[in-house]
Amino acid sequence: LSRFKRSPNGKRGKKKRNRSNSQTSSSSLKDYIQKQEFSVCQKRNLYVSFRDLGWQDWIIAPDGYAAFFCMGICSFPINSQMNATNHAIVQTLTHLLEPFLYPKPSCAPTKLNSISVLYFDDKQNVNLRKYSKMVATSCGCH
């Protein structure tokens, strides 16, 4: 930012910026850090309970499953984010250059695991079905 917004008399500009930064209170900085912590790209829990849906009369196992989801912002500096790919770094830089043209890298699953569900059908037959890529085991910036 300093490279693009540098004023003709760069020293004054720098002083001004420093002064404005120093005026920021310590409490607001703490808030900022906390906010960053919550908004950073990470895996969040989301449990779907078959039992609470009242489906235990046909689903034998499991009782439910931890679906998880990825949530958070992939913002600069990208190296502080979880599992950022090389492409995510390039995406971040292009976003910084043209924020309205190029989006930030997205927070998405980097590893997906399968689950299996054991259930009865209408004819009392039992089915074991595997569902691939159903559980986000880790998230990262893409």
């Binding site: 919550f38 829990n45 449990y47 009369d57 046909w58 009865f120 209408d122």
Partner: protein, 266 residues
């Protein structure tokens, strides 16, 4: 049902029940989950027999599955930690089929309740309902499992005994004994002293029943002595349709998705 079916992260490392949702939202969530599971509607089984052999087989497989670290896919535990290997006599070939399958269906036997007009011992009739089998799945293999326990008689001491599995073939709706033909689909000379499951490949019969449900007249298990004398299965320790629930004959079909399905609309 008064609880929320969705539990979410509260940002403090805990998972808590989501906000209460309306009946309309709840119905939509149910519909979305059913679509995700590849079902058009919620199954309504009339009764559940979790203790019988067919569900037990799949429960054992379910409990023996582990995540493949490289692919994230579910595979049968290579160390054979689960009981499926031992209890259901799962071979290395079976393991390969199980690992490849996307869907495994286990069918309970309805044979004794059907075909009352057939002059065959009803305890030895096997009939499996394949009407719920999805047509868009590739059938990899279908196997019939029959349990051999301890023999009551000492028949094995002086002669060999054979178990034969026949497919009943007849015209559409024909269940008169004269119109029924028996086609052998598998045979096994019983090993004296063996206790465990015997596996027969019945893929060709299952393929036919899947394509032409009306041709499904089931299977018949016949036990004969060396001299051709017909025996009651229980005499040589075989469990028939009237035997212990957990040891009754059952059929298992293994399927793999034919191609990548179109993305779900929701």
């Amino acid at each position: 049902p008064e609880h929320s079916p969705i539990y979410v992260d509260n940002h403090k490392g805990q998972t808590v029940a989501g906000e209460e949702i309306s009946d309309v939202d709840r119905a939509e969530i149910q519909e979305d989950l059913l679509l995700l599971l590849g079902l058009h509607r919620r199954p309504r089984p009339a009764f559940q027999e979790v203790q019988s052999s067919a569900p037990q087989f799949l429960m054992d497989i379910y409990n023996s599955m582990v995540d493949d670290e490289d692919t994230g896919d579910l595979k049968l535990d290579p160390e054979g930690v689960g009981s499926a290997w031992k209890d259901f006599n799962i071979t290395t070939v079976d393991k390969q089929v199980i690992d490849e399958s996307d869907l495994i269906m286990s069918f309970i036997n309805h044979g004794s309740k059907l075909f009352k007009e057939l002059e065959l011992p009803r305890s030895q009739l096997l009939w499996f309902d394949l009407t719920e089998v999805p047509m868009d799945e590739n059938q990899l293999d279908t196997s019939l499992r029959v349990y051999q326990g301890y023999a009551e008689d000492a028949l094995f001491d002086y002669q060999s005994v054979t178990l034969r599995i026949f497919q009943l073939i007849g015209g559409e709706g024909e269940t008169r004994p004269d119109d029924i033909q028996l086609k052998e689909v598998g045979a096994r000379v019983l090993e004296p002293g063996y206790v465990g499951w015997l596996t027969f490949n019945v893929s060709s019969a299952a393929d036919l029943w899947r394509m032409f449900p009306h041709s499904n007249l089931g299977l018949f298990m016949e036990v004969t002595s060396e001299g051709g004398e017909q025996l009651v299965p229980g005499q040589v320790g075989l469990v028939d349709a009237y035997g212990e629930q957990a040891r009754q004959p059952f059929m298992t079909a293994f399927f793999k998705q034919q191609q990548l399905k179109r993305p779900l609309p929701r």
